[in-house]
């Protein structure tokens, strides 16, 4: 049941919202499309912000998902610097921050997530940065450079990518992590220690198992990070990368079902049939794992944009996907497929000392997830095997002399 002339309003002009708008036109949607974004820029790619862009290897044009003319040419009413403040589902109206209102037949929530702030003294000092937007990246770029001391709070992927870029720009970098190892929530121990070793080789310092108790400053600008053990780590700027929280308040206040994210089905449809939620804000089903969760990744944003645009235009739903993500640090390419749910074994293929290896997380003889360092075959084949649920031979999988094409049991 689709109506190609329906009035579609998309709240959020990030990777998910921008892609949904473009796909709706590509799929033949003829009705009005409004794309509402609270940033000054048209939809752009965020991943390079912590990598190529920070190092000056990409510019605003290359970050843009589409040239600005694209939106007018395709009758997409893109409106920057504005946000929705209230959703009135009873009369299908969105109230915007400039006081105007917008009627919708179909609404897509693509409001993303925001960086979690540390609830500690001094958290409002200048020089404390986060990295979600191009404006954040601009501030960070201005703050790092030769001789500058950068503190990175949080040893997750964003923190580590910033650390690598900071070193490339000549800054001194110290990473402060609360857990005893890096990437503690998302990666296995072998990978954690591998990454720490690589970063140390590149001159990054680490404070592990260190709780941040506050920030100190002079003249309103940060000069140091204080730790629970009483020490102060001096810095000229600090980046806080301790996770994100979904921007689901608008949905929750309007009575849509939420669960740390807006709850959706396999079409990305919320508990209100006229409203979809996609990208970082959505709490979605993932059939290959038989559970629901929220993901923060570009592939997830693209997949859900496809699901919503397909449902709205009456196309068949896209085939189920295997979630994946990537990270670039120095000359390392990390590619991850799947999530390590319900696993009972971790299997190493290759030698971490060679800088080229993969970690497989198994449930019985099925692969649930793979983390591949400079190992595209392990990533590509692993991703396929996660999707088709074929049983693998553990002996073959751990034997580098056996091709990834031959590891099925």
């Amino acid at each position: 049941m689709s109506d190609l002339s329906a009035n579609v309003v998309i709240l959020g002009a990030g990777h998910a919202g921008g892609t949904a708008a473009a796909l709706l036109r590509q799929y033949g949607h003829a009705g009005p499309i409004s794309l509402i974004g609270d940033e000054p820029l048209a939809p752009y790619q965020r991943p390079p912000l912590s990598k190529a862009w920070l190092k000056g290897e990409a510019d605003a044009d290359s970050l843009a998902l589409k040239p600005l003319e694209f939106y007018a040419e395709h009758q997409i009413d893109f409106r920057p610097n504005i946000r929705a403040v209230k959703l009135r589902r009873s009369d299908k109206v969105v109230e915007l921050s400039d006081g105007s209102t917008l009627h919708y037949d179909i609404l897509i929530l693509a409001t993303g997530a925001r960086a979690i702030k540390l609830p500690v003294p001094g958290a409002d000092l200048a020089g404390l940065l986060e990295l979600r937007t191009a404006a954040d990246a601009e501030a960070l770029k201005a703050a790092v450079g030769p001789g500058k001391r950068l503190a990175v709070v949080g040893g997750g992927y964003i923190g580590l990518e910033v650390a690598a870029s900071g070193r490339a720009l000549g800054a001194e970098v110290v990473v402060i992590e609360r857990e005893s190892r890096l990437l503690a929530r998302v990666a296995c121990e072998a990978l954690s220690s591998f990454f720490q070793g690589v970063h140390e080789t590149h001159g990054v310092h680490f404070e592990m198992g260190a709780s941040v108790t506050g920030f100190v400053g002079e003249n309103g600008h940060v000069t140091g990070v204080t730790l629970a053990d009483g020490r102060t780590i001096a810095c000229d700027a600090a980046v806080i990368g301790v996770g994100a929280t979904p921007n689901d308040e608008l949905a929750a206040e309007s009575g849509l079902e939420t669960a740390r994210g807006v709850v959706v089905d396999l079409e990305a449809r919320t508990s209100d049939p006229s409203i979809f939620a996609i990208g970082d804000v959505a709490h979605r089903p993932m059939p290959i794992y038989g559970r629901m969760f929220r993901m923060e990744s570009v592939p997830n944003a693209l997949e859900q944009a496809k699901q919503a645009a397909s449902a709205i235009t009456g196309r068949p739903a896209p085939a189920g996907e295997v979630p994946w993500q990537w990270s670039d640090q120095y000359d390392l390419k990390l590619q991850i497929a799947g999530y390590a749910f319900d696993t009972d074994e971790v299997l190493l293929r290759g030698d971490p000392a060679s800088g080229k290896f993969a970690v497989f997380h198994l449930k019985g003889d099925q692969i649930q997830s793979v983390e591949a360092i400079n190992s595209p075959p392990e990533f590509m084949m692993g991703k396929q095997l996660i999707g088709n649920r074929k049983s693998v031979s553990k002996a073959k999988l751990s034997d580098l002399s056996v091709s990834m094409k031959e590891v099925v049991a």
Binding site: R25, F70, P299
Partner: protein, 106 residues
């Protein structure tokens, strides 16, 4: 600047001007040519910008890197003229380039 012809699997042609310095992938994505997904935005991480380079243009588009080869080795419907279009930089020398798109990138 180079004029590039992208031919979809169903034969639909898209002829677009692509600025020097962009990649063949970016030329498609920024001009809304369907059939090149480019999920990773050009990081050579996903193999969803697979194209077949017209035989006459194989030499001019250069060699693929080991990383690209190894990604392509596991993509669907790979042919000897398969490339990842995010790894082909556009220059004046590629004016007139013709690439064909596979049926699906996934």
């Amino acid at each position: 600047m180079a004029k590039i012809t992208y031919i979809e699997h169903d034969g639909t042609e898209h002829v677009v001007d692509v600025k020097t310095g962009l990649t063949v992938m970016e030329g498609a994505v920024k001009n809304n040519v369907p059939g090149i997904d480019a999920d990773c935005g050009g990081a050579c991480a996903c193999a969803t910008c697979h194209v077949y380079v017209d035989e006459a243009w194989k030499d001019k588009t250069g060699e693929s890197s080991a990383m690209e080869e190894s990604m392509l080795d596991f993509a669907e419907n790979v042919e000897p003229n398969s490339r990842l279009s995010c790894q082909i930089k556009v220059s004046d020398a590629l004016d007139g380039l013709i690439v064909r798109l596979p049926e699906s990138q996934h």
